[in-house]
C-alpha cells in the first residue's frame, strides 16, 4: 500500500465491538467533517499479552464502517484490542483504538430457539441453546451452553384470556406445561441468563399458540 501522511485526517470515532454469541464485529463512525469524501479504512487487531498488531485480511482499504473480526477473536478466553484508521488519497488518520475486549465476558448471549407444541390442556416448550458463531456453515456446531455451563433460561408465559403472566427459571431445555386452559391462546418469550458480569439480555421473539379444544365439550356439541 502507498504510505500515507499520518494525521492528515481526523480519526474514526465511536469504535467498539458489537458481540452476540461470539460473533464479534467491530463498528465505527466515519471521521467528522469528511462528508462526501471517498474515505477507506484499514483495521488491525491485537491479542493481549502477545507482541504485535496483526492485519485483518478482510478489512484492508474497505469503504464500509464495520469489520467482522469473529475469526480473529475466536479464542474467547483471550482479550483483544482493535484499531482502525481512515485513508483518503495520500492522507490518513491516526489509529482509533478500542478498549480491551473480552469476548467471554462481553458477548451477548442470544435467546434460545423456541419450539411450541400444543395439546388439549398442555403446551410443550423445547428450547435450543443459541449457537456460537461459526467460521463456516459446515463447521461443527458449538452451543453457547457448552461455553457457559451455567446458562439458564427465564421462560415467561402469558395467558391472553385471563391476561395473567408467570415466569419460570429453568436450566434444561424442555418444559412441559400441563393442566392449562383448553382452547386458550398463550404467548411465550424466553431470555437466556448467564451468571457473571452485567450483560444485556436479548429476549426471544414472542410466540403464541392455542391449546386445543377440550374434547369433552367438543363431544357434547
Amino acid at each position: 500500500a502507498v504510505p500515507c501522511v499520518s494525521g492528515g485526517l481526523p480519526k474514526p470515532t465511536n469504535i467498539t465491538f458489537l458481540s452476540i454469541n461470539m460473533k464479534n464485529v467491530l463498528h465505527w463512525n466515519p471521521p467528522e467533517g469528511l462528508r462526501g469524501v471517498e474515505v477507506t479504512y484499514t483495521v488491525q487487531y491485537f491479542i493481549y499479552g502477545q507482541k504485535q498488531w496483526l492485519g485483518a485480511s478482510e478489512c484492508r482499504s474497505i469503504s464500509r464502517t464495520y469489520c467482522d473480526l469473529s475469526a480473529e477473536t475466536s479464542d474467547y478466553e483471550h482479550q483483544y484490542y482493535a484499531k482502525v484508521k481512515a485513508i483518503w488519497e495520500t492522507k490518513c488518520s491516526e489509529w482509533a483504538e478500542t478498549r480491551r475486549f473480552y469476548p467471554f465476558l462481553e458477548t451477548q448471549v442470544g435467546p434460545p430457539k423456541v419450539a411450541l407444541t400444543a395439546g388439549e390442556k398442555s403446551i410443550s416448550i423445547v428450547l435450543t441453546a443459541p449457537k456460537k458463531w461459526q467460521r463456516h456453515p459446515n463447521d461443527d456446531t458449538v452451543s453457547m451452553q457448552q461455553i457457559y455451563s451455567s446458562l439458564k433460561y427465564n421462560v415467561f408465559l402469558y395467558n391472553t384470556k385471563s391476561r395473567r403472566m408467570w415466569s419460570q427459571c429453568i436450566a434444561n431445555s424442555t418444559l412441559e406445561l400441563s393442566w392449562l386452559e383448553p382452547n386458550t391462546l398463550y404467548c411465550v418469550h424466553v431470555e437466556s441468563f448467564v451468571p457473571g458480569p452485567p450483560r444485556l439480555t436479548l429476549p426471544s421473539q414472542k410466540q403464541c399458540i392455542s391449546t386445543l379444544e377440550d374434547q369433552m365439550s367438543a363431544l357434547k356439541v
Partner: protein, 204 residues
C-alpha cells in the same frame, strides 16, 4: 468556644438501622439556631481499617447531606465490619468527626418475613413475592392440605412477574409459605403467613 472562636459541635449518637439489607445510618442534629447544618458521611471497611486506616471513603449519597440519616446500603458491599463517621458543616466551619461506636456488619440486618401473594392460574400454583433487592432469594414451601402431606421446597428469585411454583391436581387445596434467604450473609427470615388456595376443577 475555643480561643474565643465558636466551635461547631460534632453530631452525636450515631446508630445504624438495618432491615432487609437496607442500611440506614442516623445521628442526632447539631443545634444551630439560625443556619442550616450539613453533614458529611464517610466509611471504611475491614480492609481499609486493617491495611490503610488513614483511608476513609465518602459515602455515595451523603457527602454532604442536610438530612439526619444516610442510606449507606450501596457503600456496604461485603460481609465485614464497617466503620462510619459523620461531621457537621456550617459555612466554612467543620466539626470534629463523630465515629460509630461499634463497627456495623450487614450480617446483623433484620430479615422480615416476605410479603407474598398466592394465586392459582387454573391448576398452576403461582406466587408473587415482593422484591427487597438482588441479594434475596426465597424458599417457597408448599404442600397439599391433607393429613400427612409432604412439604415441597422450591428456591426462587423474585422478579417483576409472578413465579410459577408447581402444577397441581384439580379440586385439591394447597398451602404455601415462604421465607427470605440472603446468601451474602447466610441467613433467612422467619416464614410468611401460610396462604391456601383451591385448584379449579373436579377432584381426580
Amino acid at each position: 468556644l475555643t480561643g474565643g472562636v465558636a466551635v461547631l459541635p460534632a453530631p452525636q449518637n450515631l446508630t445504624v438501622l438495618s432491615i432487609n439489607m437496607k442500611h440506614l445510618l442516623m445521628w442526632n442534629p447539631v443545634a444551630q439556631p439560625r443556619e442550616p447544618v450539613l453533614y458529611s458521611v464517610e466509611y471504611q471497611g475491614e480492609y481499609e481499617s486493617l491495611y490503610m486506616s488513614h483511608i476513609w471513603i465518602p459515602s455515595s449519597r451523603c457527602s454532604p447531606t442536610n438530612s439526619l440519616e444516610c442510606d449507606v446500603t450501596d457503600d456496604i458491599t461485603a460481609t465485614v465490619p464497617y466503620n462510619f463517621r459523620v461531621r457537621a458543616l456550617l459555612g466554612s466551619q467543620t466539626s470534629a468527626w463523630s465515629t460509630l461506636e461499634r463497627p456495623f456488619n450487614r450480617n446483623s440486618t433484620v430479615l422480615m418475613a416476605p410479603r407474598m401473594e398466592v394465586t392459582e392460574h387454573g391448576l398452576h400454583l403461582v406466587v408473587k413475592l415482593e422484591d427487597p433487592g438482588p441479594q434475596f432469594e426465597f424458599l417457597v414451601v408448599y404442600w397439599r392440605r391433607e393429613p400427612g402431606a409432604t412439604e415441597h421446597v422450591k428456591v426462587v428469585k423474585s422478579r417483576d412477574t409472578p413465579v410459577h411454583i408447581e402444577t397441581m391436581e384439580p379440586g385439591a387445596m394447597y398451602c404455601v409459605k415462604a421465607q427470605a434467604w440472603v446468601k451474602a450473609i447466610g441467613r433467612h427470615s422467619t416464614f410468611s403467613q401460610t396462604q391456601c388456595v383451591e385448584m379449579q376443577g373436579e377432584p381426580l
